[in-house]
Amino acid sequence: MEQQIPLTFVTWILALLPVVVVLTLMVVFKWSGSKAGSFAWILTMLIAIFVFKSDHRVLAFANTKGILMTTFALYIIWGALFLYHVVNHVGGVKLIGETLSRNVSDKTLQLVLGGICFPTFLQAVAGFGVPTAVAAPLLMALGFGAATSVAIATLGHIWSITFGSMAASFAVLQLAADLSPVPLAPWTAIYTGITGILCSYMAVHAWSGWKGVYAGFFKVLLPVSAMVIMQGVLAVAGYYTIAVLTGSLLGMVIILLISRLYNKKADNSLADLNENMSTETLSEGKKLTVPLAFLPYMYLITLVLLAGFIPGLEKKLMSLGTLALSFPSYETGYGYLTEATVYGKTTLLGHPGSYVTIAALLGIITYTLTGHMELKETKIIWGKLVKSAVSSSIATTTMVMMALVMLESGMTHTLARGVVYATGSVYPMFTPFVGVLGGFITGSNVNSNVMFGAFQRQIAELLGISVYIAGAAQTIGGSIGSVISPAKLILSATTVGLIGKEGLVVKKLLSYCILVTILLGVLNLVLSMLF
């Protein structure tokens, strides 16, 4: 790759400008992600043309690659939200949350179950603000304070964002930074696992200070360790899409078992548990049971495992229809070269989005056959899905296109060279902070990885450190940043009645998020030096 773009203060500032503009528009002017992304895309195109000498052909190919990457991510995102809305439509999500919490009487265990395992489960199956929005009111109902509930539910699921939502963030990081999943998964599992344990204790601290941390040390350690180990093992084995889902289910089971040991007098015999585990559903007052509410997620796990275990099945499925395009090599006026490549791996079947969509469709069939919904109600579910996904999809699309234009016009490379010039070998300390910035700006780990994935890779290459460690630090930073984004904080505060008092939540959360990012930065510096 030729290095002919002049690295001056002006070119560096102009390369940074789209990112600063997105941040300013969303945070200061309260623009939505879709509006800010659209504006920043136009600005990026203009800078690419007039400053970085990109012609129409470079931009056409960069934007098409952006769309191919978007299609890959949106298939997962829409599928995950479709599944969530199917289960939520029959009252399944509410039932799962309430039943689990009702059957645990110890306060710390309630916190771990309702504030860590349950939002983690929601992150696995939906994400995009759903975990805190659903779990925080539930914690409030259990007696936790409003701002504390938001802080607990938020801290409780940060770790699961990268492999949550059917591993959308992880998949996008691979594409954006051109990283192979096999060496990336262990490092990502290490960073997310450490964050999971740290943030779980921070959640307890947010509720009852150091006293609560000491008293509940093992009650937290056992289920959370089990969750992060299960996630790590599945991720390393290649089952990225179900790593968090399976981990969260294991955590819930462990809490229920510990709860029995801690409170033998509690009314938690299996018979009573089953009796409690039902609720009126929307159609004809038919009762829904917890196993039935969980069934679509069981379908998903079964589908993913079947595809993985039956030799050649996934490969065969993927060959049935692939959206990939062949790109020639091209360069900008400065000679910044993009190599020829076949780009895009979206397949109709064998893609994470296909498993989750099929699971949702099987869920609809099951709920229809068991009388919990009527087939015509699918239209209502579709309406809810479109309403919840269109705006964020536009935001993702415009920001992905923006990131690809930045990358292929040489803007990202200019940014990376400037940062390396300024910070030198201590840059790895700041890697997670860059991820946090992306997540904070866009409210999304996916978009943070899109925006900074390639940037982090290029810096790692310039510094001669592991690109996989840098990728893992980027995505965990993106997870942390996404939960403290203004859009998500406002949504969470609204669900617990703190409208206009979002500052209380920020006050509770910010110090924990800064502390965990600093610790991850130090860890990243050490690991980058060692490996």
């Binding site: 129409h56 056409a60 190919f61 769309i67 949106l74």
Partner: protein, 53 residues
Amino acid sequence: MIKSSLKSRTLALAAMLLAPLLLLYPGAAHGNLLMETTGWLILCVSVVLNLSK
């Protein structure tokens, strides 16, 4: 009002996803300027439309 806004956003998203794949890429790859220009036009209009929402 909300419904029509949602419809136009959905249309804008569909246009944004399809224009590069069906027009921009084949236009740029095969040097078909008319196809590429149409792709650019649809893409830019669909993005600009978001700014007015």
